[in-house]
């Protein structure tokens, strides 16, 4: 396993690198950053490390180091393509490995940020990983030139072979790697024009498929270590509650049980030889809880709390243009609607898990994580040890979707449990029920939208009041400025490269009344872009119908100053054939947005049977991520994002009663399956000049496109999800 191998070779590669502190040299990087490719070589067992990103073995195998986590989104392959492109190596000889967070720490963050969320994997590291590949190529060519005693400018690299052009002499990367590793890294690494790419930008196969087909792929839950024990845990199901008492002796004699321990002040774990025995014993254990201050919280009380915020005087302003109050006062007509969005669980297929081994001197953790560095910090804190005496080995993730990124509650638990068994590795696995009850939920918000229309039915003003939960308040409160959580306004910003609104409305006010119920929020694939795109795109559809306008034409008019937003919407309209009628019985709905740096749009085609049964026949989507690193993986991500977004729209709701989540498994928290999957047609229109994300943006357009199509089909306007609550039978 890579992670284990990496731990063995740690001492071999933890040498200090060449450091550059000028951010100017790196354009896009805003931090003083240690030059990631300027690493003096280390050598171990005939495996020269050209720099932090590239190892070339004597047999020409190229090992590309990947700092971000692969969780299905294809980032591992995409990042390898970017490095390989600039390295000019033979793609068929590429393998990958993860450096560990401890190695990153020891090498002054040579690999930069490990965080893999916000569709950032490629868009925030493309520059330095490509430079890493380019620097390695320059060093390999230089080594060959020195060997031949010729100018490097007379040499050319292609597919891991360096040719001295005048003489035709050839040498492979593997043959000069050892010498290249000793060459001073270049200070100037020009990057290729993307139009000249031959590896990046191509629909290459993923590098990580084969083992997923045979059961060989090891996920965190599969990890086996010598002498390992297993643990099952139950945290107080009521948020904020604590353990009052439990009788450990009552289960101590059950088969395989080694120890029953309290974990922090809110959980109890059973450690046993196998997980099934640990879980069975835990199921038999009676735990008395102090349910704490939230024991009476319910979905209804939360909804009331948010409803109050819809008309509250105090609100943080995210986007203000003109004077909405005046526009509403002078409007010939106003339209108002209120929407709401429920709690949802990430429900990764692989439940949370971590294996930890603790001694008074050292703590090691093996876990699937979207952010190895954050996992290391969580482990160190729980271990009571400095981070330099801890290590995290990233194990393959069975899904992430944001659950395994910002908060590492399960790592903390695993370390606390392992501390009870010094020197023995203990694997903690959450049951599905534990996973459902202790999520970091896609937060609840409500939104009241009021449109001002003039006597011609033109939109002159829009007030969008969001009331509800702030993820940052729950996770990174230090990032809230003057009471404003910028994440709440995803897709609604006045401008910027991340998530700008695509409409020009002369009088616009988008504000947020923060209301934080005691259910822990988290970053859930798509984050607040999901809520906001439903609110805005469905409401504009309402305005279009109320004023007798075509939903596409209404948008186009408001989007004249937003050419990138408009281009993807137009691409969708053209592909779906908006100007021609849909087939008999099929109805269409549109949505568009910008998020995570990309511009996306979708058109859904649905039918609703007389008995109310919804069928989503087709979704045509378009995305402009600036650069398309692997088009076939972008298609896979768009399709996958629609499953995530449509599952949420059709079924996703975690309700709260007596301070706890009511849905404990997939029987009450259903998932979309293959029979409900629409045909998806994806148009990729990379316009260049910027780098946008792929994994998340298109989720946000799935639900509003379908909801708008349902309205077209039935005249029913769904303003609160999930759809399973609604009767779509035609009245």
């Amino acid at each position: 396993m890579n992670a284990l191998a990496a731990s063995v070779s740690r001492t071999a590669i933890s040498r200090r690198g060449f450091i550059i502190t000028s951010s100017a040299a790196f354009g896009g990087l805003s931090l003083g950053f240690h030059i990631p490719f300027g690493q003096a070589a280390a050598q171990s067992g005939g495996m020269p490390e050209i720099n932090a990103w590239v190892v070339v073995k004597p047999d020409d195998t190229v090992v590309i180091r990947i700092a971000r986590s692969e969780m299905g989104q294809g980032t591992l392959t995409g990042l390898a393509q970017l490095v390989a492109e600039e390295l000019d190596c033979d793609w068929s000889k590429v393998t990958t490995e993860y450096p560990t967070p401890g190695q990153n720490l020891a090498r002054n963050r040579a690999w930069g940020n490990f965080s893999t969320g916000g569709s950032r994997g490629i868009r925030e590291s493309h520059d330095y990983v490509r430079k890493g590949g380019g620097a390695a190529r320059i060093m390999l060519v230089q080594a060959a030139a020195q060997q031949w005693n010729v100018p490097a400018s007379e040499c050319r690299a292609e597919k891991s072979v360096i040719t001295h052009v005048p003489s035709g002499r050839k040498v492979t990367y593997g043959q000069v790697a050892e010498a290249a590793a000793k060459i001073a890294p270049p200070t100037d690494v020009p990057l290729k024009d993307p139009k000249d790419w031959t590896i990046a930008g191509k629909p290459l196969k993923r590098l990580d498929t084969a083992d997923k087909l045979t059961g060989k792929q090891v996920y965190g839950i599969d990890l086996q270590l010598p002498g390992m024990l297993n643990a099952a845990i139950r945290d107080c199901p009521v948020f904020g509650g604590k353990v009052k008492s439990f009788n450990a002796a009552s289960i101590a004699s059950r088969p395989g049980v080694k120890k029953v321990v309290q974990v922090g002040d809110s959980a109890v774990a059973v450690i046993a030889d196998t997980w099934w025995r640990a879980k069975s014993a835990l199921d038999a254990l009676e735990i008395e809880w102090d349910e704490g201050p939230n024991a009476n919280v319910s979905s209804a009380s939360i909804a009331e709390m948010l409803k109050e915020g819809l008309d509250a005087r105090e609100a943080a302003v995210g986007n203000r243009q003109g004077d909405v109050e005046m526009a509403l006062k002078s409007a010939a007509r106003t339209i108002t609607a209120t929407y709401s969005y429920p709690y949802q669980n990430h429900a990764t297929m692989e439940p949370m898990n971590a294996t930890a081994k603790w001694t008074p001197e050292r703590c090691e953790v093996w876990t699937p994580t979207q952010n190895g560095e954050a996992a290391l910090a969580a482990a160190a804190e729980a271990a009571g040890l400095p981070a330099t005496q801890c290590e995290v080995y990233k194990i393959h993730l069975g899904g992430g979707f944001g659950r395994r990124g910002a908060v590492h509650d399960w790592v903390r638990q695993a370390v606390l449990i392992a501390k009870e068994m010094p020197g023995t590795p203990v694997k903690l696995i959450w049951s599905r029920e534990e996973d459902m009850l202790h999520g970091r939920y896609h937060p609840v918000t409500q939104c009241k939208l009021t449109a001002a229309l003039d006597d011609k039915g033109e939109l002159t003003g829009l007030h969008m009041r969001i009331s509800g939960q702030s993820i940052l308040a729950g996770i990174f409160p230090q990032n809230i400025r003057n009471g404003l959580d910028p994440v709440v306004f995803q897709g609604l910003n006045a401008g910027g490269a991340e998530a700008a609104i695509g409409y020009t409305i002369p009088n616009l006010l988008i504000d947020h009344a923060m209301r934080n119920p005691p259910v822990p929020p988290g970053f859930w694939r798509g984050v607040n872009l999901n809520h906001n795109t439903i609110y805005l795109e469905c409401f504009l559809d309402e305005v279009a119908h109320a004023t007798g306008k075509d939903p596409l034409e209404l948008r186009r008019k408001l989007m004249a100053n937003h050419p990138k937003h408009l281009a993807v919407l137009n691409a969708v309209a053209e592909k779906v054939g908006w100007d021609k009628p849909a087939p008999q019985g099929i109805y269409r709905g549109l949505a568009q947005c910008m998020g995570f740096g990309s511009y996306v749009a979708a058109c859904a085609e649905v039918s609703v049977a007389p008995d109310g049964k919804l069928k989503i026949h087709r979704i045509v989507a378009a995305t402009d991520p600036g650069h398309a690193v692997n088009p076939q993986q972008i298609e896979a991500q768009v399709e996958g994002s629609f499953v995530y977004g449509l599952t949420a729209a059709l079924y996703g709701e975690c309700t709260v009663a007596n301070g706890r989540i009511e849905q404990e498994n997939f029987d009450t928290y259903p998932m979309m399956r293959i029979d409900e999957m629409p045909k998806v047609e994806t148009v990729i229109v990379p316009s260049g000049g910027f780098w946008g994300g792929v994994g998340e943006p298109t989720i946000a357009v799935a639900a509003p496109a379908v909801l708008n199509a349902i309205f077209a089909a039935t005249g029913k306007r769904i303003r609160d999800l999930p759809l399973k609550k609604h009767d779509l039978r035609q009245a």
């Binding site: 045979t214 997939f666 399956r673």
Partner: protein
């Protein structure tokens, strides 16, 4: 000691009678390709074949099986990943995170065993496994590919 016939080998194991087959496979026999997803037979990540029939092993107590029943897990589907379903999965780059895919492959292999040329409706009815990454269209395309159905109806693509 109780025994199971797994992937053509008689294996002895020690576990309580009510231990689900899934956990005996994973913890006693170290066959971790069969996954835990829900424990209530909802998601299909734990799908194995028992005498050729797809079965969700997370809810079946191990005591319900005898060594006369042939259990096949993903590790035993083919010696080297060469089962037509595995080949089709590779050709169409189906998996994303991959966690559900071993169960999905076992379900697909069982379907094709019983119905070598499944229609889309057959696939809808028989493939009920949950995939959170959303590989469904490629799963559909790969089943058609494995069946030799030619151009598939789903939007998965050959790469």
């Amino acid at each position: 000691m109780p025994k199971l016939n797994v992937n053509g080998v008689i294996r002895e194991f020690e576990a309580e009678e009510d231990t689900p087959l899934l956990w005996v496979l994973r913890e006693q026999l170290q066959l971790t390709g069969t996954k835990y997803g829900c424990g209530i037979a909802q998601c299909g990540a734990c799908t194995v074949h028992v005498d050729g029939q797809p079965m969700r092993s997370c809810v079946m107590p191990v005591s319900a099986f005898t060594e006369d029943q042939k259990i096949v897990t993903i590790e035993g589907l083919s010696p080297d990943g060469s089962h037509p379903v595995q080949k089709a999965w590779l050709a169409l780059d189906v998996p994303q995170c991959g966690y559900c895919q071993t169960g999905m492959i076992m379900a697909a292999a069982a379907l094709l065993q019983q119905n070598p040329k499944p229609s889309d409706a057959d696939i809808d009815a028989e493939i009920t496994n949950i995939c959170r990454c959303g590989t469904y269209n490629r799963v559909r395309a790969a089943i058609h590919e494995a069946a030799g159905n030619g151009a598939a109806n789903g939007s998965g693509r050959r790469t």
